[in-house]
């Protein structure tokens, strides 16, 4: 396993290029008023990490409370606020923007050979909206919080709680607009800003995945925005649209809410899948198996994603006919995910595999996402859904997809592109350890929850029957391991900013256009605007390129 593809420049002579996007301008204002997609990505990265750890701390509180069957660590309404804020922060302020707003923002223009996103000011605006929403959410949490659950279920949220539903709703509304603008920007960029020769089927799969996710962001998010507006009006002046006593149907809220929030799951996972495609290809030195199938499966997920939302409501009183339709369509949307998993697996076939940290995370992703995806089928099948929905089974399922899938992919991507973003390598051994610790901790935390859910333990409860305690103790113990796994990267990545080895342009010998320029990149990304003259993941091209460079160097030296 000591084999590695990493090729670093000679440490004695190597140095970070003097002119790059970080050093081009100085001062706080140059960051806060920047139009550079890379700087905005860095701003996002910092703020997202901040929100992740707030959400993580709340998760820690939840696990601590669940250590014992009684509700003893905090009052039940505090517990309710804690899990509500955990959900809201993690979903709207971490998972939805995580990969797209950081890695996507940074690398979409670079991968397609553009100087920037099409709308740099809009990009900056979306960061400000994100921060405004995030700060509003945090302030709300600090000044009383909200206890509706992140789903804002009516009529609970409209008439039966007196916590801060309005400000939280506003925070989510604002964050939604940030997400819309990001998605819009990506679609325009991918359509209009591609370098000459960069045809649709030469795009890296990372771009395809982001394109699919962006479609969802643009088309689905406005629906949750109007749903939140209606909740706010229902709460303030009682318009009655969701109020059964006035003839409204509370289920209509769920229709509108899930019309966004189900595609939102794909908004979260698709960019992660994009990362995995890049990582697996790079570390097995092979073009992704079935490129077109993987590309189209992303689009298929995005399109089918619009047709399945009511599977969140199978037992909530929608018509049985609708249950049949939505259950069937749910089965269809599971297929593209299966296609992706198998294609990644077969990318390894006859590859030349090395096991750097991003690859370890990618393996973790594949295992955990397979479990997460399969358990999704349990819930999509209307029969088993009756027993399993609204229990810890569903909690475990979406944590396998979101944390086991998305977060693993996010960490894979951060490690993979860290040398490009900062120009320095992270410490390999330590990070491999962190990847393994994360994987183990994750399974310890969430696997017992599948069993708890099958046993019938409801979600969102502070106290539970004592026979569930053992598995909950396992879960909490696992969460501490998981916490360590997440803290480690923060420490060593910050350490590497100063002490990491100089990475050079292309430490992984990867083929993407982003690797063919200096690290950290120039503000303009490329010295000469690139022309794409080969397919994506063409390692032979890369080799020819490197040989040609070597020859010119030698001839210059000679």
């Amino acid at each position: 396993m000591s084999e590695t593809i990493v090729k670093l420049p000679d440490p004695s002579t190597a140095r970070i290029p003097r002119d790059n996007f970080i050093t081009r301008e100085n001062g706080l204002l140059s960051w806060l008023l920047t139009g550079d997609h890379k700087r905005i990505a860095v701003l996002y990265l910092i703020s997202i990490t901040f929100f992740f750890f707030i959400g993580g701390a709340l998760a820690g509180l939840i696990r601590l409370e669940l250590l014992t069957p009684q509700s003893d660590l905090m009052a039940t309404d505090t517990y309710n606020k804690v899990f509500t804020m955990h959900g809201i922060i993690m979903i709207f302020f971490f998972l939805v923007p995580s990969v797209p707003a950081t890695l996507g923002n940074f690398f979409i223009p670079m991968m397609i050979g553009a100087k920037d996103l099409a709308l740099p000011k809009v990009n900056l605006l979306s960061w400000y909206l994100y921060m405004a929403g995030g700060i509003l959410a945090i302030v709300t949490m600090a000044t009383g919080g909200v206890d509706t659950g992140w789903t804002f279920t009516t009529p609970l949220s409209t008439h039966y709680v007196n916590t801060k539903v309005l400000t939280t709703g506003l925070a989510v509304f604002i964050a939604g607009f940030s997400s819309i603008l990001t998605g819009l920007n990506f679609i325009v960029t991918i359509h209009k800003m591609r370098a000459p020769g960069m045809t649709w089927f030469r795009l890296p799969l990372f771009i395809w995945a982001h394109y699919a996710a962006s479609i969802l962001m643009v088309l689905a998010t406005p629906v949750v925005a109007i749903a939140i507006v209606l909740v706010a009006l229902e709460r303030t002046i009682g318009i009655g649209v969701f109020d059964p006593t006035k003839g409204g149907d509370p289920l209509l809220f769920q229709h509108l809410f899930w019309f966004y929030s189900h595609p939102a799951v794909y908004i979260m996972i698709l960019p992660g899948m994009g990362v995995i495609s890049e990582v697996i290809s790079t570390f097995s030195r092979k073009r992704v198996f079935g490129y077109t199938a993987v590309a189209f499966s992303s689009v298929a997920i995005a399109v089918f994603g619009f047709f399945v939302w009511a599977h969140h409501m199978f037992i909530m009183g929608i018509s049985n006919y609708a249950v049949l339709v939505f259950s069937l369509l749910t089965m269809l949307v599971a297929v593209p995910s299966a296609i992706k998993i198998f294609n990644w697996t077969f990318t390894l076939y006859k590859g030349s595999i090395t096991f750097e940290t991003p690859m370890l995370y990618a393996f973790g992703f594949m295992g955990l996402f397979t479990i997460g995806g399969m358990t999704g089928v349990f819930l999509g099948s209307s029969g088993t859904d009756i027993h399993l929905t609204e229990t810890y089974f569903i909690v475990a399922h979406f944590h396998f997809v979101m944390v086991g899938g998305m977060l693993m992919a996010f960490l894979a991507g951060i490690h993979f592109w860290w040398p490009k973003i900062t120009g320095r390598m992270y410490p390999e051994k330590l990070s491999q350890l962190a990847a393994v610790v994360t994987f183990i901790g994750f399974n310890f935390t969430f696997f017992p929850q599948f069993i708890l859910g099958t046993l019938g333990m409801p979600r969102r409860i502070a106290s539970y029957p004592p026979e569930f305690q053992v598995l909950n103790v396992f879960s909490t113990a696992g969460a501490t391991i998981l916490g360590v796994g997440y803290l480690l990267p923060v420490i060593y990545l910050i350490w590497s900013l100063k002490y990491g080895a100089i990475a050079g342009n292309n430490p992984w010998q990867a083929t993407g256009l982003e690797w063919q320029t200096q690290s950290p990149p120039l503000t303009e990304n490329f010295v000469v605007p690139p022309v794409m003259d080969h397919e994506a993941y063409d390692y032979e091209w890369l080799e020819r390129q490197q040989q040609a460079e070597k020859q010119t160097e030698e001839s210059h030296g000679g």
Binding site: Y291, G317, S327, A338, N343, F363, M374, V377, G380
Partner: protein
């Protein structure tokens, strides 16, 4: 062994003795649901094993040491088709199988015993037809199909009995039903699985399954004196329903005898089956389904009758098989003191 701290040891013993992968199967549907569940677990395990085995095998066979130069492979349509069609086929099997079970869980048999359960923040109130009233508990016999008709007084709740593998949302303003047939006597958990506010965690209860004999004893010992239908009759009289709903030739409302379960022609065209949901709607939102031949003059009783009251009225209407009892309530209405009279003559809001 001695080195292990006693606490951890106890913990492990406790775990091993109480360990269960799924709750007890205490209803007729449970084994069927579990069969599908284990089929899915099996398929998932096979799928996961395939992926893990392939990844491991490829990692060993094709790591850089052994296999320094990758062979570029574009893809394979045959393989793509394989892993599109096989999962699709399996998923479709799961869909059909799941739909069949869903169908069974939400289609009660005709002879099911109906129990009403009202959810409110934060308790379950069960109303047996015989007038037995329970809070956060439900006593039922084995070997008899039980239909639970659910409604919520406030927010969404979810009536979940893991041991029976059934769960149904209790919705404000609308009846939902679920049925089950218990097979094994014992006490099982009843949960509210839909988050419903501050004390959601405490909205739990016990399902006590008894042998038919014990159940009969329990029914006899915990009766409150009047059955639901009798309560309904009282309400029917005090709300003066019989002023219009009687069998007189000049009656302003349809007769209630034998209405339950009948197909009623509507003035808007079409017919409707007079089930619980319809009767509830007809009491609270009467103008929405006017029976053919009658004027839309019935006032709404929304806000005037509690959910339990509506339930009693429905049970009363269900129990009506002859006109005699209605005549009785009519007589009592006629004999009511003056102060109660206006309610009887209130009738239409504005002719």
């Amino acid at each position: 062994m001695n080195q292990i701290s006693p606490t951890i040891w106890q913990f492990l013993v406790k775990w091993l003795t109480n360990f269960a992968l799924f709750p007890p199967e205490a209803s007729k549907i449970a084994p069927q649901m579990d069969a599908l569940y284990f089929f899915m677990v099996l398929v998932s395990l096979i799928g996961l094993t395939i992926v893990v085995l392939l990844v491991t095998a490829f990692s060993i066979l094709y790591n850089r040491k052994r296999h320094p130069v990758a062979v570029q492979i574009e893809g394979s349509t045959l393989l793509e088709a394989t892993w599109t069609i096989i999962p699709l086929g399996l998923f479709l099997v799961m869909f059909v199988w799941g739909a069949l079970i869903y169908f069974r869980v939400f289609t009660p048999p005709a002879n099911a015993m109906n129990i009403y359960v009202v959810g409110k923040q934060w308790m379950w109130k069960a109303e047996h037809p015989g007038g037995q009233h329970e809070i956060n508990a439900l006593h039922i016999p084995t070997g008899r199909a039980i239909q639970v008709t659910l409604i919520s007084q406030d927010v969404f709740h979810s009536f979940s009995i893991p041991a029976f593998r059934v769960k149904r949302e209790a919705i404000p303003g609308r009846y939902t039903t679920v049925w089950f047939e218990a097979t094994t006597p014992g006490t099982y958990h009843l949960f509210c699985t839909q988050y419903c506010g501050t004390n959601h965690s405490q909205m739990t209860g016990d399902i006590v399954v008894m042998t038919p004999e014990d159940f009969r004893k329990w029914l006899a010992s915990s009766t409150s004196g009047a059955s639901l239908a009798q309560n309904g009759e009282r309400l029917f009289a005090s709300l003066s329903c019989a002023a219009c709903h009687n069998s007189r030739p000049d009656a302003r409302g349809p007769n209630m005898v034998g209405v339950y379960g009948a197909k009623l022609p509507l003035s808007s065209g079409g017919t409707v089956t007079a089930d619980d949901a319809y009767l509830r709607d007809a009491i609270l939102n009467p103008s929405q389904h006017i029976t053919q031949g009658y004027a839309p003059i019935m006032p709404t009783y929304q806000g005037q009758i509690s959910e339990e009251g509506v339930i009693s009225l429905i049970e009363y209407i269900k129990s009506l098989d002859s006109d005699y009892r209605i005549q009785q309530t009519l007589n009592t209405t006629d004999m009511l003191p003056e102060s109660e009279a206006p309610a009887a003559t209130k009738g239409p809001v504005k002719p």
